[in-house]
């Protein structure tokens, strides 16, 4: 990306059009910075290289970790801290010690996943430069947007315009212009 390229915002009316445009632009060598859609479009995420690969491992780690912690707590309290012979039951009766860790493990996994989501999305972020663009509020309703690095020169600009036109863009504009 040269210093001359500025971000462009292209607006589309449906998911098929925005996917088509994204494929054309990538084929023509333009960099798609982001896409804004009112519902998840999985193929678009693939085209952008958007990954969510951190979520499940972190959730698994947190879930199993907290579960193990609770098993440890129960064994410690019943076998070491205050051992009590109740009806001849074994002190470390692990079978019944599985229930609470399961519940708390699931909760911890969910909470960890949520924290990863917040961290990786950067949310809460109540102010973003894109919110200043007029018409952007339809991104959460019925319009699909592409944020693309603009063309570097005139020849690029022709390919850029053609790709967007053929895909059926409703409007194209430079951001911040």
């Amino acid at each position: 990306m040269t210093a001359a390229t500025r971000p462009f915002l292209a607006e589309f009316g449906d998911a098929e059009a925005v996917l088509d445009a994204a494929q054309r632009l990538r084929r023509d060598g333009f960099r798609i910075v982001d896409a804004l859609t009112p519902f998840p479009v999985p193929k678009l995420a693939g085209l952008l290289g958007a990954r969510a690969s951190l979520i499940r491992p972190v959730m698994a780690l947190a879930g199993f970790g907290v579960a193990l912690l609770f098993v440890g707590l129960q064994v410690y309290s019943q076998a070491y801290a205050y051992p009590l012979n109740s009806g001849g039951r074994p002190l470390a009766s692990w079978q019944v010690y599985m229930l609470v860790p399961f519940e708390t493990g699931v909760l911890a996994a969910a909470a960890a996943g949520f924290l990863v989501l917040l961290w990786r999305t950067g949310l809460p972020r109540l102010h973003h430069p894109l919110f200043a663009v007029p018409g952007i509020e339809r991104a959460t309703q019925d319009r699909f947007f592409l944020v693309v690095d603009g063309p570097a020169d005139a020849r690029d600009a022709r390919r850029f315009d053609r790709a967007l036109l053929e895909a059926g863009a409703i409007s194209v504009g430079e951001i911040g212009a």
Binding site: A45, L99, E103, L123
Partner: protein
């Protein structure tokens, strides 16, 4: 009654959305009642109607905490009563919300998209109400925190082998999990409401809830991954939570309670009463907010089939209980089954069988499933029948002691009735607030569904010769 025009084209037979339903339609249909609707008169009337029940619940709480649990009908023989039955019943209702969001998501059932938001809200309110009962039913409720392993000077540890301690963690985990799951799904819709808000106050409120969501595809990838993973976790969570509730009884040595069937039987029972409650709420929401194009007859057909399946499983479970009591030859259990059918509470038991086993059989008929009056009546009957089942599990087993001299019937006191009726109004109150200020249908999921339908129709059109 609604000032909002009824939405759009009729839904074709057997379809989930009207043909050509687009993103504008669902967004307008769901967010306009929250943001722009002018006439809320009926809502205010309904809210006012729930206030006496809310007040009654608060008065009941004050009496139970201030005067004591002696104000209930419990006696030295029947030591558990309405509080525990209510607790089990409300948790059961809550389970259906999670099952609709999670189990149906994991099994890719598209018809969940229109109903999962308010079903999850139902879960939150039901579990919150349920959580009150284990605390207030304690003889010394001020020490309820002893159930948690906090550092203390008394060398006190929780009894980890007790089902009641498992309950504490199960309910806590379930409530917080459900809250996170519901909120996760709400974030994109809160963004929609923020962007459609007509007042600054609404914009700030929904904007804060939306955390600045802008629909970025990168964010959607993370959101979808987390949502699906949480849905996959929620299914075993629901099963384990209600199994633990069943173990409250089954981990004991009482005749009629010590049955290995209890955990799965309670889980199915929860799904049963929960779906019945969802049907009633769906009928009310559909009518009250004019969402006929989004909550369709196909949804009720699907829910009716789930209810019918549960009815059959519950009937089989009851039959198993009777069969094992007879087959096992244990006198205490056989005597209990006879007591169920012919003893003090026999009329209630027969009513239970009518509502839970007999009446829902009408749902075999597709016409019955498509008739909302029938669905409503059957669902209300199921909810009543399931409460009767919970209370009779307690009354029959505890009341049918070895020696006839200790058998005392349970007489419901005024405070018992207060706790039976009051929370129903409290639930309605919370639900009305939810329906007023939040989108009752998950807009982004219905948009996704409409998109999938269009893609499928397009592919079918291209593929057809």
């Amino acid at each position: 009654m609604s000032a909002v025009p009824k939405v759009h084209a009729p839904v074709p037979e057997g379809r989930l959305l009207p043909a050509g339903f687009d993103d504008v339609d669902v967004t307008a249909a769901v967010s306009d009642p929250v943001l722009v609707r002018r006439s809320w008169r009926l809502w205010w009337i309904a809210l006012a109607a729930t206030l006496p029940f809310v007040a009654a619940t608060l008065v009941g709480l004050a009496v139970v905490l201030g005067v004591g649990i002696g104000t209930w009908g419990i006696n030295s023989t029947i030591v558990w009563g309405v509080a525990i039955a209510n607790y089990v019943w409300w948790i059961g209702i809550g389970n259906a919300g999670t099952l609709i969001s999670s189990l149906l998501a994991v099994t890719r059932q598209d018809w969940r998209a229109s109903i999962n938001r308010f079903a999850e809200a139902m879960t939150l309110f039901a579990v919150s109400i349920a959580g009150l009962f284990p605390i207030i039913h304690l003889g010394r409720p001020e020490y309820f925190y002893w159930l948690a392993p906090y550092p203390n000077t008394m060398q006190l540890w929780p009894q980890w082998r007790s089902a009641l301690v498992w309950d504490f963690w199960a309910i806590l985990s379930y409530l917080l999990f459900s809250l996170m799951f519901w909120y996760l799904g709400l974030i994109p819709d809160a963004a929609t409401l923020r962007d459609r808000a007509t007042t600054r106050r609404a914009q700030v409120f929904y904007g804060a809830l939306a955390l600045g969501w802008r629909g970025s595809a990168r964010h959607w990838a993370l959101h979808t991954r987390l949502h699906m993973t949480m849905a996959a976790l929620a299914v075993p969570l629901v099963c384990s939570v209600h199994s633990i509730v069943g173990l409250d009884f089954a981990a004991s040595l009482m005749p009629g309670w010590q049955e290995t069937i209890f955990p799965p039987y309670f889980v199915v029972g929860a799904m049963y009463s929960g779906f019945a409650m969802v049907v009633v709420l769906a009928i009310l929401i559909r009518w009250g907010l004019g969402l006929q194009s989004v909550i369709t007859l196909k949804h009720f057909d699907a829910m009716g089939l789930v209810i019918l399946l549960c009815a059959l499983v519950m009937t089989l479970s009851y039959a198993t209980e009777w069969m094992m009591a007879w087959y096992g030859g244990e006198h205490a259990e056989r005597s209990l089954v006879v007591h169920e059918f012919a003893g003090t509470y026999a009329p209630l038991y027969w009513l239970l069988l009518l509502f839970n086993c007999i009446l829902p059989q009408v749902l075999w008929s597709p016409k019955a499933r498509g008739n909302l009056w029938v669905m409503a009546l059957v669902s209300i009957g199921i909810n009543v029948g399931m409460w009767l089942e919970r209370i009779l599990i307690i009354w029959n087993t505890l009341g049918h002691t070895e020696l006839p001299s200790t058998r005392h019937p349970f007489v419901m006191s005024a405070i018992d009735w207060t706790f039976l009726i009051g929370p129903l109004g409290l639930f309605a109150f919370l639900f009305l607030l939810f329906a007023r200020f939040f989108p009752v249908v998950s807009m982004y999921e219905v948009r996704e569904l409409a998109h999938k339908q269009r893609e499928a129709a397009g592919a079918a059109g291209r593929g057809a010769p």
